[in-house]
Amino acid sequence: MAVDLFFKSIAELAALLEAKTLSSTELTSALIARKSAVEGRVKAFNSSDDADALAQAAASDARRAAGQARGPLDGIPVGLKDVISVSGQPLTASSKMLANFVSPYDATVTVNLKRAGAVVWGRLNCDEFAMGSSTENSAFGPTANPWDLTRVPGGSSGGSAAALAAGEVIAALGSDTGGSIRQPAALCGVVGLKPTYGLVSRYGLVAFASSLDQIGPFARTVEDAALMLGAIAGHDPLDSTSFKAEIPDYRAGLKQRRPWRLGIPKEYFGAGLDPAVGAAVEKAIAFYKSQGCEIKEVSLPHTQYCLDTYYIIATAEASSNLARFDGIRYGHRAKGAKDVVDLYAQSRAEGFGAEVKRRIILGTYVLSSGYYDAYYLRAQKVRTLIRQDFLNAYREVDALLTPTSPMPAFKLGEKSDPLALYLCDIYTIGVNLAGLPALSVPCGFTPGGLPIGLQLIGQPFREADLLAMAHTYEQAHDWHTRHPQL
């Protein structure tokens, strides 16, 4: 059976574009038609400018006709999470606060994608200000999981994962502060990569927790993720935390095969792990062993403190970052305030949703006089210990294998208690605290047909190794060739 155009990979489509058996205009039109057919059920988009996408596609076709095609991404439609700026397009962060905001400039990743010739199209839904694990916290309503429309796609980048799984985009960008790329990738059966902190510029990303946030790709295949990462990675003078790292050819690096030493952190296989997820990950571990990899149990002894450390540091940074939304220069402004302080308080009360308010309150509290040392400073010290756990493990192994999420996609509305929802992130947040690269690759399905993700956690700036390891697994399995029926 021929694979529908909208389910093909970047690599496959690039070959068709190159051979001129397909134009970017035809491809973009096919995706716009696909979106019209399924979006009413999936609800992955906050908005999209179809005319602008077609104009970009026509420009790509003109480049190619003139012999000036820019590489594998030229003419490929890519969707962006609605926290990444695209000049002249809405930027809502899925918040009422920014309901009418239009980006005055491009994020650096947007500039990079456009430079690579990609058709930058679609503002994809997420949890408000990227705070959540289910995309239910969006002011514009939840996104559905394409594999089961009664379930969540994960979050916070749920729109990016769902749009890709549903065939509405060929690849997407999301942001990952505590698992917001990897967890939705796992729950929607696609590849999601969170780069090393500093590898990808954050300029033009709506800030949630600045010491944890990273932008990264969603893709159908590991090869596509490598192409996307290559396009967006690199030093940016506009982001002072961006690193001057050498950017290798990630796609060429996929071919490397080594008897990698892979660590299995015992703390990631304890209570709370869904049996079907655990079984799928065990099979993936057995696969690597069969390939000659050394499998070694390791310990990350401070794992049990990751969640608490994360919720102190992330909310503290968020309370500071979100102070800018005060109703003065941009964003929602309340009417009828009696003075300027009241204007701040009322605008923020009206503009922010419940989860954002909870996190601002918690973050303000842990930074407040009398509590700073007990909470924030202590969390920063525990963060050091968590990071050392990983670096110690890397003396013995090249990478770590874990489940991405303790459970497959859960029902919309199932987790109404904030703490229960926070526990979805227990396998992903340590990576952000330590600043490490990690990716989720599909590794099976539950008996009920829900996707399962395998997480590979790598050493700083060693994305090429991580991608090669994931590629090895992917090429020996066919999970990535399955698509939801919509």
Binding site: N100, A349, D417
Partner: protein
């Protein structure tokens, strides 16, 4: 579930410049109480002599060249302002 005895919601909401409704206060008090109760286990970790981590890969002294670059035109910078007049943002009176 638990509520946090130390968390003075009115005080913290004032610091955060965030007006809360009575219903929000009630639910946040309980929910944040649960979260703070969970967080208390961090007190068990021995952090003696441990340096705090602010960034996983600290970078220091990042300088930008002192060169003028074009910035946003005024119209673009003010495009999202809730109220504007004569190339300025209109705000409530702050000085009597």
């Amino acid at each position: 579930m638990s509520s946090a005895p130390d968390l003075d919601l009115d005080h913290v909401a004032k610091l955060a410049r965030l007006a809360l409704t009575p219903a929000e206060k009630a639910s946040f008090s309980q929910q944040l109480g649960d979260v703070l109760h969970h967080i208390e286990q961090l007190a068990k970790v021995d952090v003696t002599g441990i340096e705090p981590t602010a960034h996983a890969f600290p970078v220091v002294n990042v300088w930008a060249d002192d060169v003028a670059r074009p910035g946003l035109p005024v119209e673009a910078a003010l495009r999202n302002a809730p109220a504007q007049r004569d190339h300025m943002i209109v705000v409530p009176k702050v000085v009597e």
